[in-house]
């Protein structure tokens, strides 16, 4: 029986984001390539990577346009981009797009984050497979060490850690399953119900996951300690298809179907999909990324109760002092991390709206995907502000630290923090 299904448009919208629809809408009717990108005027900042923080990126890109820095962005796989920038190699077109108008297409936002435009990066017209230019910044959803061992480090490339993003196991809303342990997930995806069967996930065709090239799958694999090349069940090369198959499950499949995805996508699909509480190895209870199934505060992810998460890595070349070689890259990273500010631009709010978590709201950190958690205290914490943006916060508001109680003495982003 074929279980292949088309993803619903709403799923595609949620999974790919409005920017992706803009790309599709613009690219579909176009028979010729876009105009060449203007590489001569002002400073060019070419960014390649997955779109995990696309809302933040386009907000900053629109502002930098006004500072005469042109940000060109193209979707690009995490590990391929990481290897390229470490090896000082140019990005190459997706093999599937060579010879198509999309091969060298990048997006840019001239002063308005909602006004996406496109152009073609420089390439050799005689050879469509000709590599493009070097990326100034590579974004990655996984640590470089998840992509390769890099025994000699990253050379002159530095990994600036951006916002955190969670991942979760999902089922149909009517599934009987409410939680899953690391052991149960390991058995389910390691054996794919061919043996060591875990109820109710008893059908190999409805144990759904992405593929070894997926950042999502690598995060799950590292967290569970399950070799990413050994995942059983049914591999899908599209997140939107996976989400559609879980949401559209009927009959016995309602119970047997399980998948996994990025929490920022799932936050938009709570009526159609349901997250399972996750109980890690050596943990006594299963938790959601948020403090409840219906909240958006990511409190459990932020405080260490929910360990399935990674961060967006911002990789760029740095000088001997550790500063980005390119001024535009330095400015972009400082704006993402909140070190620089622009009036009217609130990266924390953009991240909160996107279901990702700014580093200043994180109280735990790790130094490898799936690695051990350790507590941390941000220099300028924004956990209370983050919570206020996605719901309620118990924190007291303040304008200066003198207004704050002893137990939360620091006024930061308008709230009394630890």
């Amino acid at each position: 029986m074929s279980r292949s299904r088309r993803a619903s448009p709403w799923l595609l919208t949620a999974a790919l984001g409005p920017a992706a629809w803009a790309v599709i809408a613009c690219a579909a009717p176009r028979l010729a390539s876009a105009d060449p990108c203007d590489m001569e005027t002002g400073e060019v900042l070419y960014i390649a990577g997955p779109d995990s923080m696309i809302n933040v990126l386009r907000g900053i890109a629109a502002e930098l346009w006004n500072e005469d820095t042109k940000v060109f962005y193209r979707g690009y796989p995490s590990c391929l981009g990481t290897l390229n920038i470490v090896n000082n190699a140019p990005t190459t077109p997706d093999p599937a797009e060579i010879g198509t108008p999309e091969a060298h297409l990048v997006s840019f936002w001239p002063g308005d984050p909602d006004a996406e435009m496109q152009c073609d990066l420089p390439f050799d017209a005689e050879d469509e497979a000709e590599p493009e230019i070097l990326a100034d910044i590579v974004l990655s959803d996984v640590f470089p060490t998840t992509c390769a061992s890099f025994p000699n480090g990253l050379g002159s490339v530095q990994d600036f850690q951006g916002p955190a993003l969670g991942f979760g196991f999902i089922v149909h809303p009517d599934s009987s399953a409410q939680s899953i342990s690391a052991e149960a997930a390991y058995l389910t995806y390691g054996f794919g119900a061919e043996s060591n069967v875990v109820s109710p996930w008893t059908d190999p065709t409805t144990i759904l996951h992405r593929d070894p090239n997926s950042g999502t799958e690598n995060i799950f694999a590292k967290t569970l300690g399950l070799d990413v090349t050994k995942w059983a069940g049914t591999s899908l090369n599209s997140t939107s298809v996976l989400l559609g198959q879980v949401a559209d499950a009927t009959g016995v499949d309602v119970d047997t179907t399980i998948g996994g995805a990025n929490v920022s996508i799932l936050d938009k699909l709570r009526d159609e999909l349901r997250l399972l509480a996750y109980q890690h190895y050596d943990q006594t209870c299963g938790y959601f990324p948020d403090s409840t199934l219906t909240s958006f505060d990511k409190r459990n992810l932020r405080d260490g109760h929910y360990p399935i998460w990674g961060v967006v890595h911002i990789l760029t070349r740095v000088d001997d002092g550790g500063l980005p070689v390119k001024d535009g890259a330095n400015r972009f990273i400082n704006l993402v991390l909140g070190t620089d500010e622009i009036a009217g631009l609130d990266p924390i709010a953009l991240e909160a709206q996107s279901g990702i978590i700014p580093q200043c709201a994180m109280n735990v950190l790790r130094d490898e995907d799936g690695g051990p958690l350790a507590s941390t205290q941000p220099l300028r914490p924004c956990g209370c502000y983050f919570e206020s943006l996605v719901g309620d916060t118990d924190c007291d508001s303040c304008t200066s630290s003198t207004e704050c109680p002893d137990e939360r003495p620091n006024c930061s982003f308008g709230f009394c923090e630890f």
């Binding site: 149960a184 050994k230 190895y281 050596d282 943990q283 209870c285 403090s291 051990p372 958690l373």
Partner: protein, 144 residues
């Protein structure tokens, strides 16, 4: 399906810690909690664990390099064996088992963070239903 607050029965935590102790011991990890009041009185009592020493104040075996009562977990790449277990004592030897079994001191290492007291909702997964699917020590088997 009941959604439990983390302020849950201490028995669950103790049982989990005991189970984890089996995992940790077999993996050469760094901390083991046993049911008696004191796990060790001298370093010799910790000889069953890899490079461990006795925290005499707390009466527990700790990694030789650590002065804390817990250590960070090993990488998750060692499935089912990574992760230390929460301890019943804090750095100063104080009682850190909350009234409902959660870790009530300031958490810092992974096992403490995972099991720290919180008012977040949680739903336990009963690994008992995996009986026969896991190895004897409760760890996960290698995949084909």
């Amino acid at each position: 399906m009941p959604i439990l607050e983390t302020t849950r029965a201490a028995a669950l935590f103790v049982a989990a810690v005991a189970a984890a102790a089996g995992l940790v011991g077999s993996a050469g990890c760094s901390l083991v909690i046993e049911s008696q009041d004191r796990q060790c009185e001298s370093d010799a009592d910790c000889s069953g664990f890899t490079d461990a020493t006795c925290d005499i104040a707390g009466g527990v075996c700790v990694p030789r390099a650590s002065t804390s009562s817990v250590v960070a977990a090993s990488s998750g790449t060692d499935a089912g064996t990574g992760g230390s277990t929460a301890t019943g004592t804090g750095t100063g030897g104080e009682d850190c088992v909350g009234p409902d079994g959660c870790f009530s001191c300031e958490p810092s290492a992974q096992a403490e963070l995972l099991n720290a007291c919180t008012d977040s909702a949680c739903i336990p997964y009963d690994n008992g239903q995996l009986e026969g699917l896991l190895l004897e020590d409760g760890s996960v088997p290698p995949v084909p």
